[in-house]
Amino acid sequence: MDRLSYVFRRLLQLIPVAFGVTLICFFMIHLIPGDPARTMLGVHATPEAVARLHKQWGLDQPLINQYLDFMDRLLHGDLGESLFYNLDVKTLLMQRVGPTLWLLGMTTIFAVIIAVPLATLAATKKDSSRDQAVRVVPMFGLAMPPFWVGIVLILLFGLHLGRLFPVGGYGDGLAGHIHSMILPAFTVALFISPILIRSLRASLLNVLESDYITTARSKGISERRVVIRHAVRNGIISMVTVLGLNIAYLVGGTLVIEKVFALPGIGALMIDSILQRDFTVVQGITLVFAILVVLINLITDIVHSLLDPRVRFD
């Protein structure tokens, strides 16, 4: 099978999953106990308001019609209208996507900066004390709730240590954005890097035992060059995959961090919408995140197949 038909087949495989994702998002509203419209509008809602919402959500229609209508609107890019902001969800998301993308991007950079050196240090001297020390990092990383780490960093950098970094807000201009993203991105990076360290260490150990590394060493190339030019470059391929596969985990980590650092991103919007019981926004964000994760997983597979010529397409 060649690369093109592999990509095509992966795209085809996406369709049933995307269909399932839309089903779950659609049925969310039917899981709400009692009358969803009444639950959403609160106890003081007038019968007219409840009836209006029923009509808006199509709850007076048969289930199959409701789903077809939902899909029809979805395929036209219509995610519904927010109950709280009086704006359509798509516009709201476009307004809020900037900080979230900044956070995801900078987190990825920080996570790689943390994970690559630590994993290399650990893998080049397996079972040594430095390997053991690096293996302790994931234990702490996994145990620390990211939002709490965020609060501790706010305490340290916002109140002490000379206020080096802003502890809230999105900043102005490019420099302002980067400066204000340092603490939140570092927080999420601490949360995601244990997984990267583990996988990169394992794949580096694998690579360092392979024949071509022995050949490189026997040619008299310095150990430093063997590790950096030969082993790490190969090990990183697997890390790209791990990072792609964990994008869902990463996105989950950014949600609360946006709230802690008062970043006006999609995660903070979702949490605010939950507290305001704004169903359409919660549904829209859940759907968009899931579709994004599916697409990123696809892109990861394709990038992996491009980076690593050993990938077979069967």
Binding site: P33, I151, L155, V256, F289, A290
Partner: protein, 294 residues
């Protein structure tokens, strides 16, 4: 067929692997440092939580508005919060709530995921295709996004946490068990009991499950850490355990308002989460070492 002559009673004695493993466990657990360290850390927290009324001198919900935001003293070891409640009492009563909810919220998906994984892996075909389709759909959602959406739909509180985490969490166990069963069902001891005519349910429960459950149990340890993390995060957002019941998450949220004057109000409950997590991590690592066949 050779197996057809063997009676089920004889076949019962065939696989000896789990027994060997159990014996190894009994002889080696105290020589596995991470297991012992995890046991000590978690054991201490569990004892404090279970016997909280003995270790706390105050009711965790009792307010004393004349003594708000006081620092540590002999009367209040960790001081008092914004309503004059004893922080130490709240901390150990919160351990009670968070550990209980964390454990139960993992137990349900563990059981459901294991059953589905066993059936999908053993029988394959349509049930497997359907189960794996469901797994692929659920893993498409970011874990915490789906949990938040479910809690939003079902409503905050303990019940919402159980339902949301069960609906999302079963997939990991199904994937692990299914993969292990697919490999194990082709091994000779399984073929032998199949040939002896044992019922499928008996083969799965008595012969396959004891051999494939290890990885799930080890995963459950790290899953409890993630689940407690999720519960505490929900509590922090006001969507988890509802006040006045103490929870590490709502304690951190309450304390954050006073971070400039009483920073320990939000850092100490967080440290409790970290220590619990480390204890569970060590226990999980130790368990993985102990259960790995020698």
């Amino acid at each position: 067929m050779a197996g057809a002559a063997a009676s089920p009673a004889v076949v019962e004695q065939l696989p000896a692997i789990p027994v060997e493993r159990a014996r190894g466990f009994r002889n080696r657990w105290y020589r596995t440092p991470s297991f012992v360290a995890g046991l000590v850390i978690l054991g201490t927290i569990v004892i404090l939580a279970v016997f909280a009324p003995l270790f706390a001198r105050y009711d965790p919900a009792a307010q004393d508005l004349h003594n708000i935001l006081k620092g540590p003293s002999s009367a209040h070891w960790l001081g008092t919060d914004q309503l004059g409640r004893d922080v130490w009492a709240r901390l150990i009563y919160a351990a009670r709530v968070d550990l209980k909810v964390g454990f139960l919220a993992v137990l349900l998906p563990f059981c459901i995921g294991t059953v589905l994984g066993c059936i999908a892996g053993y029988y394959g075909r349509r049930f497997d295709t359907l189960t794996m389709y469901l797994v692929n759909v659920v893993v498409a959602f970011p874990f915490f996004v789906l949990i938040l959406a479910m809690v939003f739909v079902i409503g905050p509180g303990e019940r919402g946490i159980y339902i949301a985490i069960t609906l999302v969490g079963w997939v990991s166990y199904t994937r692990i068990i299914r993969a292990e069963i697919i490999v194990a069902k082709r091994q000779e001891y399984v073929l032998a009991v199949q040939a002896a005519g044992l019922r499928d349910s008996r083969i799965i429960v008595r012969h396959l499950l004891p051999n494939v459950i290890t990885q799930s149990v080890v995963f459950a340890m790290s899953d409890i850490i993630l689940t407690i993390g999720a519960i505490v995060t929900l509590g922090y957002l006001g969507l988890g355990i509802q006040p006045p019941t103490p929870d590490w998450g709502n304690m951190i949220a309450d304390g954050q308002t006073f971070i400039t004057t009483r920073w320990e109000l939000s850092t100490i409950p967080g440290l409790a989460v970290v220590i619990t997590g480390i204890g569970l991590s060590l226990l999980g690592d130790g368990l993985a070492d102990l259960l790995r066949p020698e």
